[in-house]
């Protein structure tokens, strides 16, 4: 009797400890399931069927995503990737005794989301990435006869998160269809009259960049000092990281500067303040090493000067010009952290104080 009572008292404590340890150590990701729709596609050669699919991926999910309610989740294919892919192909290539059995290894299959610059705006980018190997059984061995990497990319409006999220499934189907059509066009046993040159294997094979570039948001404050002015600027910069080639960031900034001591008086004013936006003509980042970027820009400073006259009257002066800058950005922490950098700049403006000006900017901000 005593033992029963003791056991009864221990249970809540044990339960509490279990919950605590679960909350402390369990992964914060929940799961969401993606069911592939059964949409058949036109297959030029029907000499094969898919006998089996093997999922060779170390992680069996489609990636970690924020769902529409903002929760971090892991996406999985309904029934698992092996069964889902087999079922999908079976609709277009049904199993029949006179056909050749083909085996598929899934080397990669995931869906991704990022942002990128589109013209003068920011757009959302989605990708389904896939890598498949097609095999034949010869005796007791499986022999790889074709392999392909493929991306299905699509662009969405910045505010169309729902549309992007809802169509991950469609891009997976499109990627599976593309890979099968490419395989059949290169399969020796296909009917010759169905073959085209569309899927001729490129030099080096079907290889694609497996990852959509990471999107960086930078909010920075710039302290500026030039021959004639000093002040500060607030900027938002967004860009997709890219190891190779030039990166085209999106940037918008606003500057407030004022004439340095003596400059206003030399030009016949008590004080001069300047308020300027700086739309870019060209703006590039180039990654030097991870986290370090060189920046180059040509821009059009446009705004106005507030001129305080010596005789107590104020006047406005519309300013427009052309500017250039060369600088460095250092982003030590990829996900969230501090950004710092420096720029040299030169500009020609319709200012009442100067025509040509050069200066430096020190940049401090955050990335997220």
């Amino acid at each position: 009797m005593c033992r029963v009572t003791k056991s009864f008292k221990m249970k809540p404590l044990f339960l509490l400890a279990s919950i605590f340890s679960f909350l402390a150590f369990a992964p914060t990701f929940s799961q969401e399931i993606v069911a592939l729709r059964s949409v058949p596609f036109d297959v030029p050669s029907k000499k094969i069927y898919i006998a089996d699919v093997y999922d060779e991926r170390p992680n069996k999910h489609l990636g970690t995503h924020k769902n529409l309610t903002g929760d971090q989740i892991k996406l999985y294919l309904d029934k698992g990737a092996e069964q889902a892919v087999k079922n999908f192909y079976e609709i277009s290539l049904p199993q029949q005794p006179d056909k050749n059995p083909i085996f598929i290894e899934i080397k990669a299959l995931n869906v991704q989301e990022s942002k990128r610059r589109m013209n003068s705006f920011i757009a959302r980018a989605a990708r389904a990435h896939i890598e498949l190997a097609f095999l034949e059984q010869r005796g007791s061995e499986f022999v790889e006869i074709f392999s392909i990497q493929h991306n299905e990319d699509q662009v969405f409006g910045l505010y169309d998160k729902i549309g992007l999220y809802a169509t991950h499934e469609r891009r997976i189907r499109a990627a599976l269809e593309y890979c099968m059509l490419a395989f059949l066009d290169n399969y020796q046993e296909s009917e010759p009259d169905t073959l085209t040159t569309h899927f001729n294997v490129p030099k080096g094979g079907y290889r694609v960049d497996p990852r959509l570039g990471q999107w960086f948001n930078l909010v920075t404050v710039k302290g500026m000092r030039s021959t004639y002015f000093e002040g500060y600027a607030i900027s938002y910069t967004g860009f997709v990281d890219n190891k190779k080639g030039f990166i085209r960031p999106y940037e918008t900034s606003f500057e407030v500067t004022w004439a340095r001591p003596g400059v206003a008086a030399d030009n016949g004013y008590r004080d001069v303040e300047s308020f300027v936006f700086r739309p870019e003509l060209y703006f590039f980042y180039k990654r030097i090493v991870q986290g370090v970027y060189v920046s180059l820009s040509a821009n059009v400073p446009v705004g106005y000067e507030l001129l305080e006259n010596l005789d107590e009257g104020n006047s406005f002066n519309f300013v427009i010009g052309i500017g250039a800058s060369q600088g460095l950005r250092i982003i030590p922490w990829e996900r969230r952290g501090i950004v710092f950098g420096a720029d040299f700049f030169q500009q020609i403006e319709t200012s009442k104080v100067y025509r040509r000006d050069i200066g430096v900017e020190l940049v401090l901000g955050v990335n997220f």
């Binding site: 949409v39 058949p40 596609f41 036109d42 589109m118 013209n119 705006f121 757009a123 299905e152 662009v155 969405f156 409006g157 910045l158 505010y159 169309d160 549309g163 809802a166 169509t167 469609r170 891009r171 189907r173 499109a174 599976l176 269809e177 593309y178 059509l181 085209t196 040159t197 569309h198 899927f199």
Partner: protein, 125 residues
């Protein structure tokens, strides 16, 4: 601002089309008729008059774009609702289909500069 509105509304609606496209409907010569966005229809420019896309059954195509001829191979991705056109020495071009009948074909180019416009082609036959 108008351009931004058109861009955002167009891209929001671009996934809503769910027609299943039949390959047989594509085998014909398509003549450029007009362009449209969310607000209006636009006539092709003078140099685009007479532009066409001829999609052949042997999966080759011929295209006249701004008066210039080009040719290559094409494919339909039924699940992705797009055509892929490959010509020699050029990158593959994707055309997202929005509507297809034996008389009319509407698509958008997968190119940032033209993404906000739908291209309307009609059967030349």
């Amino acid at each position: 601002m108008k351009r931004l509105f058109v861009l955002s509304t167009f891209l929001i609606t671009n996934h809503l089309h769910a027609q299943k496209f039949e390959k047989e409907d594509l085998y014909r010569t398509w003549c450029l008729d007009k362009y449209s966005d969310e607000e209006a229809y636009y006539e092709p420019s003078k140099k685009e008059v007479g532009d066409y896309i001829s999609l052949k059954k042997d999966m080759t195509y011929e295209v006249k774009s701004e008066g210039e001829l080009d040719s290559g191979t094409w494919m339909l991705n039924t699940n992705g609702n797009y055509l892929e056109l490959k010509s020699k020495g050029a990158e593959a071009q994707k055309l997202y289909l929005y509507f297809l009948s034996t008389q009319s074909m509407v698509f958008t180019y997968d190119v940032d500069e033209y993404r906000i416009w739908e291209a309307h082609y009609v059967s030349c036959n």
